[in-house]
């Protein structure tokens, strides 16, 4: 089985930060796998996903995505970017545009800039967008403006846009953190299901162990920028999860306690 993501000894610190956001992180995701990044807020999950999407520079180590190495100093060439889809935590939709327009936006990276700027969407683009909308159960919302939708509906639009990009790797940053438990299950089922039927790899982050267990084949536990465990879902025990979320000690100089 080929490898979708390969990370070796990766370290990264945000500019101006005292502590590294990621420290000596190494892991591998096989093509077609669904993997969850589990960990409390501030564990480095968002940073890791954004880095795999090619949006962060200045890291050290070796990272390779879909067989091509990432350059630590510059973003990947735009021709390669559509292969990696990203579902943003806050949806990142154009609020004043229609649902269909937002989903079509996902396919812009696959076109030449001139055609993207001047051309109207082709039948092929529209078909991909309509399929993505139908798969996400929002075909009837196509003409609605995003600013008239609920949180759950927006999350479906965000996923549909990602699918319209036709990615081979889907990265999702806390895709269900804003939703109630029933909606959260629906969305994660949708995301992992759509990835499976398209033969894509899915890597999503979550801070809810139950959801990670239910929808991932493998779980990578993160805390303080490091990987604490990396196990098949069936082998995840409660002690490991508890350790991930154990109360953080007093933070020197601040006098506050961060509670899990």
């Amino acid at each position: 089985m080929s490898t979708a993501v390969e990370v070796d000894d990766l370290s990264f610190a945000h500019t101006g930060a005292d502590l590294p956001a990621l420290e000596r992180v190494s892991f591998r995701v096989s093509a077609g796998e669904s993997v969850a990044l589990l960990g409390p807020s501030g564990a480095g999950k968002t940073t890791l996903l954004a880095l795999l999407d090619g949006r962060l520079q200045g890291w050290s180590g070796r990272v390779s995505v879909l067989g091509a190495p990432l350059d630590p100093d510059r973003p990947p060439p735009s021709a390669r970017r559509p292969d990696t889809g990203f579902v943003f935590q806050e949806f990142a939709l154009v609020e004043r545009s229609s649902v269909l327009r937002n989903v079509l936006n996902g396919s812009l990276g696959r076109m030449s800039p001139l055609r993207a700027l001047l051309g109207s969407p082709t039948k092929h683009d529209l078909e991909i967008a309509r399929t993505a909308l139908a798969d996400c159960g929002i075909a009837d919302l196509a003409e609605r403006r995003v600013d008239s939708l609920s949180g759950g509906q927006r999350q479906r639009v965000a996923i549909a846009r990602c699918l319209a990009q036709e990615p081979r790797l889907i990265l999702a940053d806390e895709p269900v953190s804003n939703l109630d438990p029933a909606r959260a299950c629906e969305i994660l089922a949708l995301l992992t299901g759509a990835a499976r039927t398209r033969g894509a790899t899915a890597l999503f982050s979550s801070h809810q162990p139950d959801l990670a267990r239910r929808f991932a084949q493998r779980i990578i536990g993160m805390r303080d920028g490091r990987i604490v465990f990396d196990v098949p879902t069936s082998e995840l025990n409660d002690d490991a999860t508890a350790e991930l979320y154990r109360e953080v000690g007093p933070i020197p100089g601040i006098g506050l306690r961060a509670v899990s």
């Binding site: 999407d53 090619g54 949006r55 735009s78 021709a79 390669r80 970017r81 559509p82 990696t84 889809g85 990203f86 943003f88 806050e90 949806f91 990142a92 939709l93 154009v94 609020e95 004043r96 545009s97 327009r101 936006n105 996902g106 396919s107 812009l108 990276g109 696959r110 800039p113 993207a116 700027l117 846009r161 990009q165």
Partner: protein
């Protein structure tokens, strides 16, 4: 806000010195102010009754002022689109937007009437120098507004399109433009209103429009005709303001 400490005393001293210096070196004589009353009364007396026979000139002048404002605004929009993009920190690097912003501040600092006088010198009398002057002067403000509209949009959708592989202009078209369109519409209408108001006086320096008639009638002591034109100008300003209030309600 109260002035405090040494800085406060120094500031108060400077303001007092500036006022005293202005009085001492400008010939402000109270005798002249006292005799001004009858003279103003005489001036107004000669303005009444306003001469209604100048209706044709008022129509012609107003239409020309309106045309100057419309074409001047169009010119400013055409100039402001590229300059606004180049003055935006979202679209270009500091090496580009800093000098462009300085240039725009410089343009804003030149009064319209001065630009109009230069243009009359350059291209001759008539509405053309007025149009060029309005386009140039308005670009200083409009390009800055456009840049601020670009920089004021939510960044997340831009990052999302970048992640999908879309280039800068494609991101501008599909992620930035839909967000900034209502701001651009509001700013452009606001600038058009200012252009119309400011073009009313352009005729005084020979740059076309209704101001030409005010200047002509005052110079030839036909105050009754000047009064009619002035009343027309005041009516136009009030009308512009009323339309603007109605439009502003739609955009907020």
């Amino acid at each position: 806000m109260a002035f405090r400490g040494f800085g406060g005393i120094a500031t108060s001293g400077l303001i007092a010195a500036a006022i005293l210096w202005s009085f001492a070196t400008t010939d402000v004589e109270f005798s002249r102010l006292l005799s001004a009353g009858p003279r103003i009364a005489d001036f107004f007396g000669r303005m009444f009754p306003p001469d209604p026979t100048v209706m044709a000139e008022i129509k012609k002048g107003s239409a020309e002022t309106l045309r100057i404002a419309i074409l001047g605004t169009l010119g400013a929009v055409i100039l402001s689109v590229p300059l606004g993009i180049l003055a935006s920190e979202t679209m270009v690097s500091p090496a580009v937007f800093r000098p462009i912003r300085t240039l725009l501040a410089f343009i804003r600092a030149i009064p319209l009437i001065l630009v109009a006088m230069l243009m009359v010198g350059a291209v001759g009398l008539g509405p053309l120098p007025g149009i060029i002057a309005v386009a140039f002067h308005a670009t200083g403000m409009l390009a800055k507004f456009y840049a601020e509209a670009i920089d004021g949009v939510s960044r997340a959708p831009i990052a999302a399109l970048e992640s999908a592989g879309a280039g800068p202009l494609v991101r501008l078209r599909y992620a930035i433009w839909p967000q900034m369109a209502p701001v651009v519409a509001r700013d452009t209408i606001f600038r058009f209103e200012l252009n119309l108001r400011e073009s009313l006086i352009l005729g005084i320096v020979g740059a076309g429009g209704i101001g030409f008639y005010i200047q002509t009638y005052v110079r030839s002591f036909q105050y009754d005709k000047a009064a009619s034109v002035t009343m027309a100008v005041v009516a136009m300003v009030i009308a512009i303001e009323a339309i603007n209030v109605a439009l502003r309600r739609r955009f907020t």
